[in-house]
């Protein structure tokens, strides 16, 4: 498991190559990149600042990945989340899940993103023409995370 919280950008090809290295049993890599959009709630975003809780963040992410490994037959996971000041079109987060088969890799990747969105201590502040504002938590993210608790077939 590789968990990183960093200000630097990341390269998905490099990360997937590292995740796959020396593991010829891997047949599937599902991945996700979250990106800063130029518009949010209808307002133009010029800067996005990511704050986190050093010390807790890595533990929270590791706990989410461990839970995914318990639920699905996957081989390994990389999670990278950036912090600090970002611009529209900058990459924010990478989740890459390697497994033997695609169904488990897809499910685990989406699960990790849904849990990260609701359980990992990151906060976004965006600057718009109206000034700075903290991004509000979305109910749709809570619902996405709750799906995984109801034993829904995915």
């Amino acid at each position: 498991m590789k968990i990183r919280v960093q200000t630097e950008n990341f390269d998905i090809a490099t990360e997937i190559a590292a995740l796959r290295e020396g593991r010829p049993q891997i047949g599937a890599v599902a991945s996700f990149i979250g990106v800063v959009r130029d518009l949010n709630e209808g307002d133009r975003v010029s800067t996005m600042t990511l704050e986190h809780y050093p010390g807790m963040t890595e533990k929270a992410l590791a706990a989410i990945v461990e839970e995914a490994k318990r639920r699905w037959d996957i081989i390994d996971v990389t999670v990278i989340h950036r912090v600090g000041e970002l611009k529209p079109q900058d990459q924010i987060v990478l989740v890459a899940v390697a497994g033997e088969h695609r169904g488990e890799a897809f499910a685990a990747c989406e699960f990790i993103m849904d849990y990260l969105k609701t359980r990992a201590p990151f906060w976004k502040k965006e600057r718009t023409p109206e000034g700075e504002r903290w991004v509000e938590a979305r109910e749709s993210d809570d619902r996405a995370a709750e799906r995984w608790q109801k034993g829904e077939s995915k």
């Binding site: 986190h52 987060v93 969105k117 359980r119 990992a120 201590p121 990151f122 906060w123 903290w134």
Partner: protein, 84 residues
């Protein structure tokens, strides 16, 4: 001594990222600590009031109202998370 931490909007509203405090003996749960801090004045009452949706962690684990708070603990207050 307990280490308090405040993040994001809460840090700004309170004007502090955290502090180390001695707690009276009866302040031994998350709920009691929240009330204890609200008694500090208007800004605290407002930021930590029951109408605010807050998350609390104790020693890096998500906590509930009845989670114990003891000397040596690190207790963080913050809004719902919005990363990813």
């Amino acid at each position: 001594m307990v280490r308090l931490l405040f993040f994001a909007r809460l840090r700004e509203e309170l004007g502090t990222a955290g502090e180390d405090i001695h707690l009276p003996e009866h302040v031994n749960t998350v709920k009691a600590l929240r009330r204890h801090l609200m008694a500090r004045g208007e800004a605290w009452k407002e930021a930590l009031g029951p109408n605010k949706v807050l998350r609390v962690s104790v020693n890096h684990e998500m906590a509930q109202d009845d989670t114990p708070v003891r000397a040596g603990d690190e207790v963080a207050f913050f809004p719902p998370v919005t990363g990813g």
